[in-house]
Symmetry: C2
Subunit: 338 residues, 2 copies
């Protein structure tokens, strides 16, 4: 088959590779219904994260099971499945505690920007539906695999609950899903920090009640004004840079929480700063596997439509164009049809 490989920063190719095979008896092979490019794929694309070349790209996926290993018990060929971007056994103490993204057997999914992919620990990682979703629902299911689940985790880690005042830092796809997730968890007020008009509009559609376009100290001051000088109960940090983290801490009230889901790049904290600010901090790779049954159900029932973040759709052979469009901020997120 063909698959997506990154050979160097800026150099993404759709090229001939070996077909994926069952390597361990707990693996499954799936035929993808669709796949996509993640904001985190842009870190190596932009040279901001070293990698071993060539790297198989893609960790968001949904599709039909076509083969399972001899020890797979619950997942069966023919089922439609969604899996997390983190492989997990769903049985270890960390999984049972609610953190499959820190599973004792944790692996990060790769190679999913392709028509077929191998999923390790299939029973633990994959969640099957009873029926095939509709074509309209496929992008929503795909979103559950990472971007929606990650936005949801930002809201959970920040402690968003009924009546919360929430601030979302970052208007990429995860930030927009974080807005939707804050809404799903009952936030009364959702302040989206966004400078791009099209993204502001989408943020409002997903539930943002206020938009703050300024950044840095000025942005912090605007949020403080909007919250009567108090700050937000919950701040959802969806970028991963020092500037965005400082902004997140700056708009959080004492006793409030910052949930951070943008993979941090050269972000540091001082103990003294966190101590006297008295703000909670919790982040990490999202425990998507825990959320999947609920998120997939909400999609199937039509309650949420998390697919609007895909504002560019390309055949997978044009994947390199998809990276370029996201790198140049012409697209929020690229859906790849296989």
């Amino acid at each position: 088959m063909y698959a997506t490989l990154m050979h160097a920063p800026g150099d993404v190719r759709y090229e001939r590779v070996d077909d994926p095979k069952i390597l361990k008896p707990t693996d499954a092979i799936i035929e993808l219904s669709a796949t996509c490019i993640c904001g985190s794929d842009l870190w190596p694309y932009r040279g901001a994260q070293p990698f071993e070349e060539p790297m198989h790209m893609g960790h968001e996926y949904c599709g039909k099971v076509i083969e399972v290993g001899s020890e797979v018990r619950t997942i069966r060929p023919g089922q439609f499945v969604v899996g997390s971007f983190v492989i997990s056994d769903n049985t270890c103490p960390h999984c049972q505690f609610g953190y499959p993204s820190s599973c004792e057997q944790r692996e990060f999914m790769s190679g999913a920007q392709a028509p077929y992919a191998r999923v390790p620990l299939a029973d633990g990682t994959l969640v099957a539906t009873e029926e095939m979703p509709t074509d309209e629902q496929i992008p929503y299911m795909l979103a559950s695999s990472d971007v929606l689940g990650t936005g949801y985790y930002a809201a959970e880690a920040a402690g968003v609950t009924n009546g919360s005042t929430a601030v979302v830092v970052g208007d990429g796809a995860v930030g927009l899903m974080a807005v939707l997730s804050a809404k799903m968890r009952g936030a009364e007020r959702i302040i989206a920090m966004s400078r791009h008009e099209s993204r502001q509009k989408l943020a409002r559609e997903y539930g943002a009640t206020d938009i703050v376009a300024s950044r840095g100290e000025e942005g912090i001051a605007e949020v403080m004004d909007l919250t009567n000088g108090v700050g937000a109960d919950a701040v959802l940090e969806c970028v991963g840079l020092q500037q965005s983290m400082d902004q997140a801490l700056g708009v959080c009230r004492p006793g409030g929480a910052v949930g951070f889901v943008g993979v941090p790049h050269e972000v540091t904290f001082t103990g003294e700063g966190l101590f006297f600010a008295q703000k909670r901090l919790f982040g990490g790779p999202a425990p998507v596997r825990r959320y999947l049954p609920d998120l997939m159900q909400r999609v199937l029932e039509g309650e949420i439509k998390p697919g609007k973040v895909f504002d560019l759709e390309l055949p997978i052979a044009e994947v390199a164009d998809g990276y370029r469009a996201m790198d140049e901020r012409r697209a929020i997120k690229t859906l790849l049809r296989v």
Copy 2:
């Protein structure tokens, strides 16, 4: 009157000062029943924290109100009161949200290692009892003012709840109170990390089920062994150094929490480290004012006896000896009789 001043690192004197006076109409003057030396007083004493000389020492206090300002409404002369080491109005949004230690009018108490002290924002800061406590209860009441409340906050910030497995890092007075607090909050297992036999004994009295004497990687490995390789749900960091913080994070399970109450000195975190470890972090000056009514009630009912951390008792005129004893680790905490 005489009071305790620090003139330079290692140089503490009990010397003549002006009597405290009402400076603002919201102040009260109290006659202290007892006072004490805090572990945090050792930072400047050891030259690890610059300060303006001479510095009035002491922030833990309880005693009888002898005078109030014209705007004090609820506190009256003659009452026995306990106050937090953080002055707060108890009405601002941060106080109402449960964080009086981040009050909009926050001040840190000082000058309480003396027979009399001025307490600003008396209505917000002080909690009165109906009757005078017994002599036996005075040290327990005094402990509520900071060391017990701070240990309690470590347990709350670390999310200790019924059935938790908790680890306490640090066997100073706060660490020992953290053990007691973890017990009060229902921890099933409490692992105290302590190298000193007398402190281990006290930790066991207060509820520790296991003692780990090793530190660093070895200490982490021992805790991991004790928890079947999982780590603790809740870690109470009661020191404030990089080594103790690394140890705290090292023994915490993914999805667990580190509550840190030792004022951090040159402690740093990386965003990436916290992200991939997936551990919660929350600390700060303890919101003691919120806990006081409950803690004082438990003392009055005889449920808790948090005074055992005072293993040295001196007349206040000998305060310099008290500092020396704590600095040389001959005493856990010094009670000063006024």
